[in-house]
Each structure stands twice: as C-alpha cells, then as structure tokens.
C-alpha cells in the first residue's frame, strides 16, 4: 500500500556500512545507478544498499498485510453486494501486493519467514496509518481515497526505482492502487451526497484520516537523514516533503468537489508557490505511532500473530504432506 522511511530518526544515526566496500566496484555501481540502469538480484551491490532495500521492501510488504486488517474489519458489514465484492477484491489485492513484495525482498537474500518473524517481534515496522481504527463505513472510503491516494503518490516514482524486482512489482501495484483510490473516492462521494447521517460519517472519516495520511510520507526532509543516500541510489526518487505537497495539492480540490472540509484551518492556496500552504503536522504523534504507541498497534499485531500461530499446524501439515509425496515419488 505504501512505503517510506519509518525509522525513528530522532534516535538513530543514518545507516553506515559496517565494512568499507571495494571502491572500484562501488564506483561502477554508483555509475550504473546514476545512468538509471536497473540493478538485478545477481548484480554486485553495496551492503548498505541491500540492507536499505530489504528494510524498505519488507516494510512495504508488512504494510500491505497489516493494512488488510482495518479494511477487513468492514468486509462482513459492507452495505451492498457490490460494495462487499469490491472491498473483498481490494483487500485481496493488498494481500497479493504483500506476496510480490515479499518475493522481491527474497531476491535480496532474506526469507519470508524471517521477515514475518521480524514483524511479529516488533523489529520490523509497517505503515503507521494502519494503527488507526475504522469506525464507520466511511472510513473504508477514506482509506481508499486518502491512504491509497497517498500510496500512489509514493509509489509512482518507485516504478523507476533502481532495484529491478522492486520497480517491476511497483508497476503492477500502481495499476491496482489507482483502482483502489477511485473506489474509495466513489464511496465518499456517495456518502457526501447521501443522508445527513451519511454526510456526518464522511466528514468524520476525513477529519480522522487526513493528518495520519499526511504523516504517511514520513518525517520532514530536514529530519530524514537516510533520504539523501536513498535519493542518490535511486531507491527513493522524490523527497518526503515534495510528495506530501503533491498529495495535498491533488486532494484538497477533491474534498471541495464533494463539499467536505479538510480539517486544517491553516490550509490556504499560495498563488506564488502554486501550491497549498498547510498547518503543522503533529510529529510527536507520528513518532509515537512509529514506536508502536498507535491506538490499535497492539490489536493489529495480536491479530497477525494469532493468525500466524493458529495457522502453524496447517503450514506444518502442508510441508509434511509434500515430504511424504517426495518420498513416495522417489520410491516409485
């Protein structure tokens, strides 16, 4: 659904490679990346590049999987057969994104089980946005519109990211996200044009999801020390603040079009910049959610761990059966 740098940068220094890399290979690598070549799994790459990518792609994959929970919360209560089918298909897409992203990360020398273990133990992060609750049906609209809208802003540039498997996964993911964003906005449009109760739901959803959506782009550029290296390596193609501004500029008129109020009194069109000025983001809240203090952080992780632990016997059975078949095939 989305990715950005989620480490609590106030606490940690930027990643430093543990051992110096061979300068000749490093220079050749940097030159390829600068020339917009794709780096492929078998190519040489600096350790820090590999680690940054594993972290970023696995965070992205985890976000897709944890992101199934807040929306999954409404599949069984969707208000019509069409809405139910569309939401189920959408959440299934998110699961599919998780699957290709785990596969892309595996090409860098990690395994899905290792990544899942890192998520469950709290070492790996996922997008802060999914630690907020989905209270009403309108929250499903807001997630599609704002959260998937933000994801598209983040991910479109990643279709040209330097690591080939990640860039290719992103091409497919972006197509699906754009459908998700439209279905979310369409839900909001319907509610905003509906009864007073429906309009209240829609406005409440925008009020609650607006600021967390802006936080999805990560800390401001002056507090994002890993960004410079990630930009040079073309793991990232635009800065957090640039993408955040682009998102605001696109989204505000969409809110106006359906007569919903963006909950920011400081929001104002700036003729000179050709962009909206906007209010202060509560970064204390962002860092608290990154630390696992989000409203539903414990529930989300418990749900994932429970599904994983309760499914252990199924995975063991599948492996035991595959082993038996191999033994039988060998005996024949």
């Amino acid at each position: 659904m989305y990715t950005t740098e989620l480490d609590d940068n106030k606490k940690k220094p930027a990643t430093v490679p543990s051992a110096p890399e061979d300068p000749v290979r490093l220079a050749a690598f940097e030159a390829r990346v600068a020339a917009d070549d794709f780096i492929e799994p078998k190519d040489w790459m600096p350790e820090a590049y590999r680690k940054t990518l594993i972290r970023q792609i696995s965070q992205h994959a985890h976000s897709e999987i944890v992101g199934m929970l807040p929306e999954g919360n409404w599949i069984t209560r969707a208000p019509s057969l069409r809405r139910k089918a569309v939401l189920l298909a959408k959440v299934q897409d998110e699961g599919g994104h998780g699957l290709y992203l785990y596969a892309a990360a595996e090409t860098l020398g990690t395994s899905r089980d290792e990544m899942i273990e890192a998520l469950h133990s709290g070492r790996a992060k996922y997008s802060t946005i999914f630690n907020y609750p989905t209270l009403t049906w309108a929250d499903i609209g807001a997630i599609g519109w704002l959260v998937d809208g933000a994801a598209i802003m983040n991910q479109v540039p990643l279709q040209r990211t330097s690591y080939g498997p990640y860039a290719r996964a992103m091409v497919r993911i972006c197509k699906e996200e754009s459908f998700h964003q439209r279905q979310g906005y369409e839900i909001m449009m319907t509610l905003a044009a509906g009864t007073a109760e429906q309009k209240r739901m829609a406005q409440s959803a925008l009020d609650r999801w607006w600021w967390p959506s802006l936080m999805m782009f990560g800390p401001p550029d002056d507090n994002s020390p890993n960004s410079a290296q990630s930009m040079r390596w073309r793991i990232k193609r635009e800065t957090n603040d640039q993408i955040r501004q682009k998102f605001i500029d696109v989204t505000v008129p969409q809110a106006e079009a359906i007569d919903l109020q963006v909950p920011d009194p400081a929001l104002k069109w700036n003729e000179t910049r050709g962009s909206y000025d906007f209010g202060e983001i509560d970064w204390e809240e962002f860092y608290a959610v990154v630390r696992g203090e989000g409203p539903l952080a414990k529930e989300r992780m418990n749900a994932r761990v429970k599904a994983w632990e309760e499914g252990a016997w199924v995975r063991e059975a599948a492996m035991a059966h595959a082993d038996k078949r191999r033994v039988r095939a060998a005996a024949e």
């Binding site: 929970l69 599949i75 209560r77 299934q92």
Partner: protein, 251 residues
C-alpha cells in the same frame, strides 16, 4: 410454472452462495498463510458474484421491486433459503475446508446440470459459475488431502471437521414439493440424481486423504424451509447492520 416456485429456487441458489461467501470473507486477513488468504477471498468473491446474479433473478421474478440487495440485506432468518451446511461457522481451517469440500463438490455437479436449464438466466449464470466452482473444488480437494495425509494433528482436525459437517450433507440432495415442479419442467436440477457421482468423488478424495468416510447419521434438515441453526441470525445481524441501521439510504 409459477413464479413463486422460481422465486423460491433462485433464492435457494443465491442464498447458498451468499451465506458461504459471507463466511469465507470472515477469513480475510486471518488465514494460516498469505496464499490461503488470497484463495479464500477469491472463492468468496466468486460466491458473492453468483449470489448477486441469482438474487437479482429472484427479485425480477417476484416483481415486487426488490433487487438483489433488498433480498440480501432486508430478509430475516425465516426467509433465507440456504442449506444449513453453508451457515456453519468457520471453526478452524479444517472445518472451513471440510465445509468447502462437501459443498463445492455438490455445487459443481449442480451447476453442470443447470447449464442445461430451460431458464436461460439460470443456464447462463450456471455456465459462468461452473468454471469458478471447478477451481473451488480443486482447492478444497487438495487441502483435504494435505490435511488428511499431513501430520497427526491435521488429520485429527480434518476428521473432526468432516464429522461436524457430515450431518448437513443429506439436505443438499433433498427435493421438496416447492421445487419438484421446476425439476419436472427442466428448469431446476434433480439433485437426487447427482448423489451417486458426488459419493464417488467424495470417496475418492477421502481415500487420497487416507480418511474414512463418516458413518451415516440422521440428517439435519430445515434450511430450505427457513428453519436454520442459531448461527444464521448472528451472521445476518452483522451482514445487514448498515442497511438495518440506516433504512432508505443509498450506499
């Protein structure tokens, strides 16, 4: 042929798919592994699609202005016509698979028959759905074998799941007075005639799974007449919440 009989029949077909689709969607985000999560969601989606078509047909035949959503979200337990099997709770993954295995094998044969229905709408829905259900059957059959011939734990669980679901099998093959005329008119499928082939399919998969066929027992019936288990009311109260809480709203 009375429209009442056709309405009844379309509701039975639609409700089977709807209720099982709803049950499967409960798994979304919580399955034992990502691949299974995707498969269950996919099967649920197919079923909700089938339900939408059959319930639309029911509403059209009834002619009282109820569309598929009105039928899905604004009927109460006594008016639901699904079989008892599909409303059984998911339980553990083994129970879900046992339910799917018994049902999909039946639904595939049923839809294969219905592709020849003299009602063109039913035939068209069945023609599309039979391909989907062939996949559902394969998925369920394969998991029956993995779980039966996997570990001691999985074997115990799938045997228990099958045992739980088995008492609802006879209902699938029941023909009552409400649909007998539709069968005579070549519109409905005579499910009694499908039993031998279903038995053979089930026996084959259970043999592959090294599982025993459950012992015959007294059938639990009633779903087709609206006499359901206690589970259905809870399923509906969740599924129908928004339509009930905000009557008349458009979503």
């Amino acid at each position: 042929m009375s429209d009442k009989a056709l309405f009844e029949y379309a509701c039975r077909l639609g409700d089977d798919s709807l209720i099982l689709g709803q049950r499967l969607s409960e798994w979304c985000g919580h399955a034992p592994m990502l691949e299974i999560d995707l498969s269950l969601a996919n099967i649920g989606l197919d079923l909700i699609g089938q339900a939408t078509h059959f319930l639309k047909l029911a509403g059209d035949v009834e002619g009282k202005g109820r569309d598929a959503d009105a039928l899905a979200f604004r009927r109460d337990v006594l008016d639901f016509r699904n079989c008892l099997l599909v409303e059984q709770p998911n339980g553990d993954f083994a129970q879900t698979i046992a339910r799917q295995f018994l049902f999909s094998n039946w639904q595939e044969l049923l839809f294969r028959d219905l592709t020849r229905s003299r009602n063109e709408t039913i035939a068209a829905i069945a023609a599309k759905a039979v391909k989907e259900v062939a996949y559902h059957t394969r998925f369920a059959d394969e998991w029956m074998v993995r779980l039966g011939d996997g570990t001691d734990e999985s074997r115990g669980r799938i045997a228990a799941g099958l045992d739980w679901m088995w008492r609802f099998v006879d209902e699938l093959f029941e023909v009552d007075a409400a649909i007998a005329p539709l069968i005579a008119a070549g519109i409905g499928a005579d499910v009694r005639a499908l039993r031998t082939e279903w038995d053979a399919r089930v026996a084959k998969t259970l043999a592959d799974a090294t599982l025993e066929l459950p012992k015959p027992r007294r059938a639990t019936l009633g779903g087709r007449a609206g006499h359901h288990s206690e589970h259905l009311g809870h399923l509906l109260s969740e599924m129908q919440f928004l339509q009930r809480a905000y009557p008349g709203a458009t979503w």
